[in-house]
Symmetry: D2
Subunit: 502 residues, 4 copies
């Protein structure tokens, strides 16, 4: 398949690149773990997200909420922020801020026993909303005391997670959620009106009932929402096989059009028009045991998503940065189809590179096509682009992209970083090793060495008419990040590259 594009360096194509705005994580309590922090450090050092969002801030492993009886037998409450400080300190020290998700319910405050996940997050309403409000306020006041209001006011606050699912909110009870939302919103704004609050954090498409219901409720109650949140996954639930599942990817356009519906619905409310929508979770599959997540196919598919997710949304948060994650239990093997960009042991999966490559693009977009995006730096005249080949099903075909650049006569360098099944495929190395559940140091080093892109350069001479043609060959499920820069020779006295290599 061949594609050719003539580049207009003055074009200005819509591309709201929020690749690095936010990233997801398993329950917050896992942030206490060393391996989690190592993976987060790797992601922050190499990509660098601004925010992180995860579940279970108030779950019992964070040990925040406690009750006891005083000598008169009265129930008293106390708050313990020992672990919360450890987690928040660790985030801020890595230059990432929390996108706070308030939930789930502490056992001692819960009205029921229903839990979600292997790690048993309680998903029932509070026995008393005043207790919930005190917990929310005590927590925020503690955070403001420790980190200042100037800091905490930059942390968006979302109320609960996916209340439209029976698993995450008892009975998927919409009216009860609205009650929770309003109580929480009121409590937060009492602490400071500068804090920003949003919801309803719904999973997927449930616009007619949930999103509309939520907006009607807020509108009716004069709630001045700061933003809207929803999630976005692009596969369906597969039949489980042992520990795993093999979902099929959905076609892109259908997926993107669902996002347009949410946008249009919100914009139909005068008071909420143009309100930012944060996709607080997205990924291909929503099960943490889909081997798909570890493949080059996932990386190529996500690459295309990243070109368009900003079209109608303020941000989109990949679920998740790493594989320390316990929703379905502790993984048995290093590659187990976890959500992470990074597998346990600090192995970069192909999808890691989709994010790194998009993060590194220049601000100005001059070309955005089905299989390639190109950006330019006005000051230096340098270009950075990404080409990807993400057909849903194997075609066996390479994709050949040619870019025709207007260019001053002279010498240029083309730099390519290639991630495809042949060059950067750690899953294959692990498979070739026999799919070991425990990796020796040696095996881990081997897999990591095979998880880096192949970097190559070549010299391009623009002709006197000022034209340079760049051609990229993208293998199936591959992505190539490329750069083009002016690179005139500045040869030292007596040096000859050609003689050196005779």
């Amino acid at each position: 398949m061949n594609q050719t594009f003539l580049i207009d360096p003055n074009a200005n194509v819509l591309f709201n690149n929020k690749t690095d705005f936010c990233v997801g994580t398993g329950r917050i309590g896992l942030a206490l773990q060393e391996e989690y922090q190592k993976q987060l450090k790797l992601v922050q050092d190499e990509i660098g997200f601004s925010y992180i969002r995860g579940h279970g801030l108030f779950s019992d492993d964070m040990a925040i909420y406690h009750t006891y009886k005083d000598t008169n037998g009265n129930l008293c409450e106390e708050y313990n922020f020992t672990y919360l400080d450890l987690v928040m300190d660790s985030y801020l020290s890595k230059n990432i801020r929390p996108f706070l998700e308030l939930g789930f319910m502490p056992k001692e405050m819960a009205s029921g026993d229903q839990t979600v996940f292997y790690w048993k997050g309680n998903v029932t309403p509070p026995v008393e909303y005043a207790r919930w409000q005190r917990l929310v306020q005590a927590t925020l006041r503690h955070l403001i005391g420790r980190y200042t209001l100037a800091e905490v006011r930059t942390w968006p606050i979302e109320v609960w997670n996916e209340p439209n699912l029976f698993g995450f909110w008892k009975g998927a009870d919409m009216e009860e959620y609205f009650k929770l939302f309003e109580a929480t919103f009121t409590a937060i704004k009492e602490v400071s009106t500068e804090l920003t609050v949003g919801g309803p954090a719904i999973c997927g498409v449930d616009d007619e009932r949930w999103l509309k219901g939520f907006l009607d409720f807020c509108s009716g109650r004069k709630i001045a929402l700061d933003f809207i949140t929803r999630h976005h996954y692009t596969t369906d639930l597969p039949v489980p096989d042992g520990h795993y599942g093999y979902p099929a990817l959905r076609e892109h356009n259908g997926c993107f059009s669902e996002l347009d519906i949410s946008r249009a619905l919100i914009d139909s409310y005068l008071e909420y028009k143009d309100l930012p929508i944060h996709i607080t979770e997205f990924n291909t599959s929503y099960i943490p045991t889909a081997p798909l997540h570890d493949t080059n196919k996932n990386a190529a598919y996500v690459a295309y998503m990243l070109t368009r997710l900003g079209d109608v949304n303020e941000s989109y948060s990949y679920w998740t940065f790493g594989d320390i994650f316990e929703e379905n239990g502790v993984p048995f093997t290093p590659f187990h189809g976890g959500f992470g960009m990074v597998a346990n042991g600090g192995i970069k999966k192909p999808t890691f590179w989709s994010f790194k490559f998009f993060k590194e693009l220049y601000k100005k977009c001059v070309l955005k096509e089905r299989n390639v995006i190109l950006t330019a730096d006005e000051k230096s005249g340098y270009y950075k682009g990404i080409a990807f080949n993400d057909a849903l099903n194997r075609t066996g075909e390479d994709l050949k992209i040619t870019l025709q650049l207007p260019a001053d006569a002279g010498r240029y360098i083309l730099i390519t970083k290639t991630v495809d099944e042949d060059t950067c495929n750690p899953l294959k190395v692990w498979h070739d090793l026999g799919e070991p559940s425990s990796l020796s140091k040696d095996e881990l080093a081997l897999i990591k060495a095979a998880a880096e892109p192949v970097v190559k350069t070549s010299s391009i001479i623009a002709d006197a008419d000022g034209k340079a043609d760049i051609t990229l060959n993208v293998k199936e499920y591959g992505l190539i990040a490329f750069e083009i820069r002016k690179a005139e020779l500045a040869t030292d006295r007596g040096y000859s590259y050609e003689r050196a290599n005779e």
Copy 2:
């Protein structure tokens, strides 16, 4: 070009692998530099040599030897070990020990003004041998005091450097060198008979006059030499062009036969028969501005040298580990044809990998051919080998090597790490960048990323008859390190690599 070999796992082929015994360095005083130490750390972390040898221990920048007049006007001597301690501490902390080379002459002890190199090492005899002997003894006693005799006795001691060259020893005066040698030998053994001493550190082939002369002298004076040293380079002196030179590589066999001559000559003395020969310097070219050193061609040529240098020698020390080096002045550019395995900035040159790959071989050699070496680990049954394609002049041809391994029926993994002009060629990236003399962080990172081998794996199924064929395609000036290991599948419940990659 095709080559096929049937492997006998029980073969035991001569291969005295001393790749990691010793490595060279510019003058010792440069070890004070931070960039030098960073490069050494990199080399030690990834390869790990046992000894390091360089010039100029007693040169003035080390500031060891000083004289002053006392109140009566008498000349007094004093020794300053401040920098010596810094250097030796830095070496030992990186798990490398000095192979001590005694020289050059401190200015305040020198009988003349002749110097060598940009950094002006004085190469004249001492004004008085007793002063030289006191200096040698004071230095060794200080080292023993600081590091213990148990430690210092493991450091070989060599007297001077290349006295057979006019540049390195005034007049290349053989009789004067013998005088120096005997005075030094005597002084050292007075400190401790456990210290080991050798010479004559001659450059290249001068066996008839210098090596024989030296042995005759020592034999006549009953000097119980601990070892013999010489150097080994395999190009001739090129015509200079600006800062650079472009020497031609000599054919291998001629070079190796010169080493046989030295060996035979030594063995002809009853008292010196089988005395260890340390090649205290070797490389392709002996000029520090030969762009050849930075190429893949150099790496492939050296790879073959490493298979044979141990045949008649105890060790062989590559000159040098890094590019902080001032013999011809300070380099103008990061790639300037320096001797180092590592270029300034911490860039691994292709030849770095020749050493790393040889260092990692197993002890037992089962195949050693013109373009391939194979070793085996008896306990695990694993193999490690290296294939290389080092034709002196471009042939344009790939080399295809097939190894026929007897093997238990079952699944194996073949791991390859490829270093060739296409996969691992930092010099080319620098050239494509325009040969900048100063690298930005970005450019440095790019070059480093392109200086790693491409790592790939594949799965090999041995047939029921117990045979597995491994085929390697080695490009011109390329080398491939490869490993073969048993790797039976241990698939987790429900996992399918194939379904993951549909």
Copy 3:
């Protein structure tokens, strides 16, 4: 109070210094935490223990044991070693090995619901001993596969924890424990007879019933025990007050005599005579919320314990190295009376120094008195000692210790490192700061700076008769580590310390 001792450098006093043999930790699953690992690193870098022992290897947070139904509805078992590998790797990378304690019961294997601690360790027998045996064997075989038998055979294995207490073993059922012990012993020795196994891990003094019962049982069943284990605490249970308790220290001699009883009992069995006793836990108080643990008083009291615990025991393991610990829940404040030598945030408590100082003593003991111990290095003639002032109740008195050393005439240096309420008292600094539950970076740095001993030196001139008197002034609840070394002046030309300080 004054004490004077004449030192005999040739004396050889009983002092079995096993200070660094083993140290305790909260449940093993906490080893996944980053803060835990930071504290362990600090302890290992500065003290360096050989072994670490904690509870809950098989508790559910380690996620090792799982069951599922196959398609025929049969119960199947599977083992997950993902977290176990993380923990064991982290230990070995810090040069510390596990002293394995097998327990508690995985929920899916437990016969009942009884749990211990905030973190709910199940303390009931297995539903079926064969399942327990398979779990033990699978775990050990995995460890041997990953770390080799040569390594794992050095890890002592203890069966369960404190089964003589109702809280730790259902009904404190002695017969059931013996059953567990034998099943476990048998299972382990089936894996390898080189693995070493011991018990009964009983808490405190229960010699007549439990220790004798255990030995009788083992003797009757011909069980070739490798070692015996018990615990040792020296306070009683205090009345709780809010989150805390204030136990009173018991007088030393009574405590030590209990250990003699265990020793005598074991030695009364011909087959178990001289069998090593490992005190697998000791501390002053056994509650994790005794502010006593954070005081200088604790440090001085423990110092004396360390002089005598080796008298009849093979080792003694302080419970615990750090304060990441959840038995009574997550601590509300940095100083909360936790067991650790190190408080959260990496603050060294006074007791940390007791261990560091004892670790650094020389092998040969020349003086061991109620308030001072002195050791000598035969090679260098240097001395190291520790003086401590550990009265149970405040006396307000300093302790003045004078050591009369035979010494060559000449110049010596006396080095002292003082830890007392005035010099090294982080708890007081925290108290002066207002007892904050969350520490700012600034506050943490201040507390840490105040948690280091005051180091001083002085010059001692031994008189011509060869005598040097050293006097130490030890404040109440203080300890002083001291060293005495020969230190003749080696003054540089023209240097004058006196003129510099005029």
Copy 4:
């Protein structure tokens, strides 16, 4: 001696605190050394200066300037920035910028042979000023190319060093210096008018002849100076004894009045009135072998200097940060009276703390007396101060300072960090060790441990009338940094500090 001060929190006392503006260093080429960089890192991590200034940018060890003959025999010039980049990168990576001093003369450009220092800086004028101008311009253009103009324009540029001394500028030829200055000024401004240039970098008091002469010259030539520079030392030249010298400190007031003279002279020129004066070097003694520099006396004396040096000057740069320094040769011992705040091995000298303590003061000064300075933070109400006892000759007396603070009723914490001969005196420890020229690891660790201030806290209860008295006892040659903060108790449920310490 007792002093009592009543504090007015609203006072605003003149205190131009430029403690951290700039620091000196030996010749720039030494910045290539690892030990130098370690010391600089320590200083930057703990104190953090903005600029660094040293000699020898153009000296031959930096290897910048080279000439060669082309094939026609014409002299050609070339520039080598390899080492310059290493040095500047190392500075910027440690958050410190160069205060550029242009000098000395490259040998290949020098008109004579006169050199200064052990390291032989050539101090003669250029053979041709155009060559010097090209060198200056090439260097600045290179720096701008590498670091941007936005960066380099923040680096002040000073022309030469101490031309009023015969040792530093041939003949101390004033007219020749003016010629150099103008040529340099012109060349720099040609590169960019945004670059800032100053001089005449004279040593000490030579105002009438040199400073006035310089200003007259510049005024006459219409040179728009950006700033003026001079040096400031407060001892005279001592008689040498062996390697060392023992200068006497001059009385403070005389020293400060010399600075007033320079200020007044400059302000007498209309066009230079209020021009910033940078003291580009200051210290007590100007010889690098004055043991005084290593003492507590030096620290206390410098502390007082730091309270007043900003009165009439824009900045003042302590000569030097560390002891890697070769002006009189390589030091023989770790303590040798070097200029550094840090001794070799990374030992903090007492004077290090003078700088650290002043750096940490708050912006607003409320009290500045002969022996104490106090600053306040308006937002928090916290105080930070420093008390010092710097009598020129031993008095044997302590200084007792009482501060009467107006304060809200309540609980406060007083924090003190004490540096005096008894608490923080590494020189004494080294002396007690016998003044070893080479330190073992053990000895170095001991000295470092004794080089930290003693940190203590106490609790202060302000009475109901709102008064709190703070008393500090400062030993001879001691300094105490202190802080006062509100610290109300926030005791956890059941916690009792008193019961913990019974």
